[in-house]
Amino acid sequence: MKFDIAFIIDQLPYLMTGLKMTLLLSFASLVLSLLIGIAGAVIRILKVPILSPIIIGYVELIRNTPLLVQIFFLYFGLPFIGLKLSGTVTGIVALSLWGGAYAIENFRGGFKSVSKNLNEAGYSLGLNTYHVYRHIIIPIGFRVSFPSFSNTAMSVVKNSSLLAGIGVLELTFTALNSVAVSFKYIEMFLSLGVIYLLIVWVLSFLFALIERKLDFKRRSSKKAFFSFKGMANKTYGKAG
């Protein structure tokens, strides 16, 4: 067995096309799951009739079934009731639904932690529910729940690798393709692991930056902004 570095360098451009797809899929899914998360959390806290139980059921269903089965269900199961989606679209839908379910829980915790006094102050100033949420609860709650949301986000990026199972040309699938031609397992899978580690490290660095920026206690002092104490302890997402 010989480790072939030249092969990895040769295959890098091809892997990069997969990386681009992975990042694109993750970004689209993250934006969507952010929206689902905020909307779902508000619906659950306001206890909107009909919608709230639906959200509860949706969250429990997604959180207690494997993402891979959800992806297969959307890709192979849905066409038989007349809904045919392409691989990429299935990927974005599956990842957004998955990320959204976790994001709802993250944001619900954050929004709930906003002091009741602020809520009441808003109403007594004559704001209606929409404005209380738009200007008070969501901006403050978002800051509180950002760390847990960033964990979910990291998991979404890592879980995009499962889309290889339905043949979406993302990072893992390009690596599998290259292995299928060259049989150089070790080189490919090791570089795959390294690339994912790099993505996760860069992301956790970015999220830590955003966290610092959102943290309004620190925002006043510029010195604190540039110190990255505790950065090493940043977690890399929950699972998957």
Partner: protein, 219 residues
Amino acid sequence: MNAIIESLPFLLKGFGFTIWLSICCVIVSVLGGVIVGVLRTLENTVIRLASKIFIDVFRGIPTLVVLFLVFFLLPTIGFQIPNFLSALIGLSLWAIANVAEAVRGSIQSIPKTQTEVSYALGLNYVNTMMYVIIPQATKRVLPSIIGILTNLVQSTSLTVLIGNVEFLKSAQITIERITMMGSNNTAVFMLYTLVLAGYFIICYPLSLWSRNLENRLKV
């Protein structure tokens, strides 16, 4: 519909395999996770750094990639192991890292004064851990460990991609058979729903349990 009922024994066998694999992984990963988690809190720099690197690497790489690495790497360096074992190793590596991180968090959440007091009372390191730290830490870490185990059960579905015939694969084989026989196509939809339901039945009680423990902790 008849075709599905006919293949129920086969599906149940796959379901049994999933549960068996989950139980094996749970045992290995809880034992390994506690050990690595305790190592992570030791004073020794080398051991601490090594366990930190282990935890960070296996939490950072997607589970699927860990599985592929184990599945393809071990045979090339001379370990011919069955699919079941490579699934067990891959999933456990991932779960050990996550459990270890939770264990580390819970041990470090116990105030340092507790350790100092027990040293002052003349307990050594092992006794301090056994009688002071671990009993308190266990209560705090249990909800998150059960959460990780729920994820672990779900992750067993990934082993289908390295050739294990577990619940998902048995459903896929059934689907292939049914579509080949040319009977009705709604069977695909129903079978995938059945798989979703099967995993839900295992995971839902676990996550309820975890939430219950967490709520009890808050009060």
